[in-house]
Amino acid sequence: MSSNATASIQLTIDGTPVSVPAGTTIFDAARLNGIPIPTLCHQQNENPVGVCRVCVVDIGQRVYAASCIRQAEAGMTVKTSTEPVLAARHTLVELLMSEHPSPCARQQHSGDCELEQLAAAAGIEQSRFPQRAAPRGKDDSSAVIAVDHEACILCDRCIRGCDDIRDNWVLARRGKGYQAGISFDNNLPMGESSCVSCGECMVSCPTGALTTKRVVGTELGRGEVLDPAELLHLPIFENVSGTFLELNQKAVVKRRFRAGEVICREGEFGSTAFYILEGTAEVFLSSPIAHVKTEGSSHGFFSRLKSMLAPRDEHARSEESARPFIPIDASVDLPYDNPIAQLNPGDLFGEMTCMSYYPRSATVRAQTDCVMLEMLRNVLDILQRNKTFRAQLERNYRQRALDSHLRGVPVFATLTPDFIGHLRDRVELVRFNPGQVICRQGEVADSFYLVRIGFVKVSEERPGGDLVLAYLARGGYFGEIALLTGSPRTATCTALDHVEVVRIAGEDFRLMLDRFPEVRHSLETIAHERLDANRLRATQVQNVPIDQFLANGLMEAQSLLVLDLDRCTRCDQCVRACADAHDGVSRLVREGVRFDKYLVATSCRQCRDPLCMVGCPVGSIRRRNSLEVIIEDWCIGCGLCASNCPYGNINLHPFPVELDDPVMPGRKIASTRVKATSCDLCHDHEEPSCVYACPHDAAHRVNPPEFFAGVLKQSNPLKSNPPKR
């Protein structure tokens, strides 16, 4: 065997006698002897498949042979560049070019598209052949790799890179003939597939079909840039293509922080995540854990309203959350009473900021001297898809965060440590991309979900369009109704951004209900409340002429401040009164949509689709069962809800606070913190100040369906619908 393997054979290539080991392909034989043969589908680290046929050579037989797969034989005469061979290659390249979007992404970025280089060398400017009739499209779902199926020449290099080299088995061929292409898993978009973002496919691709995404600002201007070789030494980058890391080199840096140095501050906008390599850090909230309370400072005629901060034990509001933990964008939650926790080596924080550009949810300060990796979205995506890193992340979560995460949800507060221990090895962390459906209305229920990262939209399919039932942030849960009742799913749950949920299998969920009757009771109560609220909404939607409201979003409202424009002299007394009632911060703007002679002023509408709740980094804005908005005590004043509200109905109210001096520990300094507020209808008074102060009887708080039903019936709606609080 050994003598056969090393035995040499003699053959002639382009008139030159050459000697190569037996079993060598013609392509390699030529290359070893300095005779270049062009190719597209073949590269040295992959098994040859001979699909592009560009490497054809004349071996004196009836048809030309693909040199990459044809083994050299003793006495063989090979001609690589005769006129007919060149003509055949020319035609092949021309045929490939006819379907190639020239210049492709790779050619545009780096000028090294192998097909276009071959075409240029062959002097092909325009193909004689017609272009593809049906486009194959693009796939932009991955955060790091752009897929242009149009530029794919079906060389299979990516498939061999994924399957043979990296052993990931994500890529394969799909379709036949004109429909043929590459596919991820069972023809899923790349971002939704099980792709681990190792980048091997991209570095294997000869054209612009798979390219690295050139996102603006993919370079970090600070920190120590790491060599790909150094990165590959870190276990979390195991199995990632070195070339791919090289392409993303400046998107991950090593940073050193001294003890006491602030790494990121709550409320700041950012685009990076941190991974702790060495040292420990403390994560905490410096905003006061309290909500805005507005009340009269004295009773009687000349009472003045004053806004102040009050924690929930001093001033309890209806349906105030009793959560013992505050959800943040890290592997741990913060206790409500003392919002501080420790982060250790191997912990990742800032995922939501990095992936979805939400504001930082907490302040992180180095407790000891720390070394961290700071990374941009493309690198975090690579990590999050990396099997080793995922395993580490899940391990950390199960060990450190599952307990507080479950206990952070009041209904699970009574779970015993041994049952949480039981769940620890059974729960599954599942990721979803923006827009991906987690569970669909009508499906059979098999799991219960707890939101760990991101926002989930819960909607119900109705004739005429979907109705949004809720937005769930970290700590929110769904899927219990169908499991409790044994009926199909009652709503569709969709990931609004990069979502990660904790999936508890149906059998574990049922076991939990059997072992903890109080959990069953609480869940059943909540399920009933949710179903009742859904039914109420369904009645409201069906009983009013919705088409006229939907156009203006008025149907979304539960309570509206309506100005009768025939009475309003535009004196702005309502705005002044609102500002007066809230320490100079008006929660009302006298502008908005018009309906008939009424102006729906910009004041919280208590929408049924409360977009303000999407993106809160600490999940502090939610609504009561009455749909009224409530802002929890742990609002960090980042202002995202204010900018998300399409009607400008959330304001930021500044309050003077005393904070720890970062320069001199132990000393306090005066500072200002803001808290989000929305119209509170001047709860302490019989009537909202805006309505009370209108001298022209033009301002009214109304219930929209009743009010507009009155308008549509041409009656005086204010008669039948007296001003409401």
Partner: protein
């Protein structure tokens, strides 16, 4: 404030008060030996009640200054302002026996007449102008924001024109090669038609830019409508119609948007004018009212003391 059926009770009360005051005044004026006088007991009663009403009416300003004071709804105070203010006038006339008296009282009476008339004018304006506002200005904005919105409109107009011209020029350059090639193979008439079409595209773009520079931009940059033809809705409509003729139908929505921008500006100008009218009378009414109250108080002190 809109004076409608909701004022019925106030109207009834005032009518009753006026009837009562008149029924007392008529026999008093007929039988008083020296005619009705402000210094008589009844005259003093009329004066005191009238002045009390005037004071109440004047407190509306204070009520507005502190809108969160829970001292009754502001609309109640406004109704009181209107009806007690109205009633105070005949009471003060009864107080003086329809005589204007010496220099101080004469000044007071003339002041009162001005205040009363300006108040009536204000009430009438507040009754009618909000409806005009609502009916004619669907695009109104907050008055203080008008200048800012005008700047935004100017930017929007420029963007629309750029977009339209860009589309037009792109269309011409895309089709020119094809059309010039077609023209080369066509007959003389077809050739001229095609080439003429290309020229028209260039011309339309130039015309539109000139329209922006010469008409739209100056109109949007300045407050007021008088100086520009675009301030007149009929003329503006005609001008935009001419522009539409120059352009392919696919670009007409852009011209519709441009026309809407100018229409919004026209409405903002009109809103600005109406706002000045609706609130301008207060510049007369309020200072005169304060002067009236001060002089009235002075008159009361002087009359009672001396």
């Amino acid at each position: 404030m809109l004076i409608d059926a909701t004022h019925r009770k106030w109207f009834g009360g005032c009518a009753l008060g006026l009837a009562l005051a008149t029924s007392v005044y008529v026999p008093y004026s007929l039988h008083a030996p020296q005619g009705p006088k402000g210094s008589s007991s009844l005259g003093l009663v009329y004066g005191s009640v009238g002045f009390a009403f005037m004071l109440f009416v004047g407190v509306l300003g204070l009520r507005k200054k502190f809108p969160v004071w829970r001292v009754g709804r502001a609309s109640w105070w406004m109704r009181g302002h209107l009806w007690f203010g109205f009633l105070s006038f005949p009471l003060i006339l009864f107080h003086g026996g329809f005589h204007f008296g010496g220099p101080l009282t004469r000044t007071l009476m003339w002041l009162f007449i001005f205040v009363f008339i300006s108040g009536l004018l204000g009430a009438a304006l507040q009754h009618f102008i909000p409806r005009i506002h609502t009916a004619q200005l669907p695009m109104e904005t907050i008055y203080e924001q008008i200048d800012r919105v005008r700047v935004q409109l100017a930017t929007e107009a420029r963007q629309l024109v750029d977009e339209t011209c860009g589309a037009l020029e792109g269309e011409v350059s895309r089709s020119s090669e094809r059309q010039r090639a077609a023209a080369a193979g066509a007959g003389v008439t077809a050739n001229l038609t095609i080439l003429f079409g290309l020229q028209i595209g260039d011309q339309a773009s130039n015309e539109l830019r000139q329209f922006l520079e010469n008409e739209i931009q100056p109109y949007l940059d300045r407050a007021g409508t008088r100086a520009s033809r675009l301030g007149n809705p009929a003329q503006a409509r005609a001008m935009f119609q001419q522009v539409r003729v120059l352009l392919p139908p696919t670009l007409h929505p852009n011209i519709d948007d441009l026309e809407n921008v100018c229409e919004e500006k026209r409405q903002l100008d009109q809103q600005s004018q109406l706002h000045k009218v609706l609130h301008g009378w207060l510049l007369v009414h309020v200072p005169l009212s304060y002067a009236l109250l001060l002089l009235g108080a002075w008159h009361a002190v002087v009359a009672l003391k001396f």
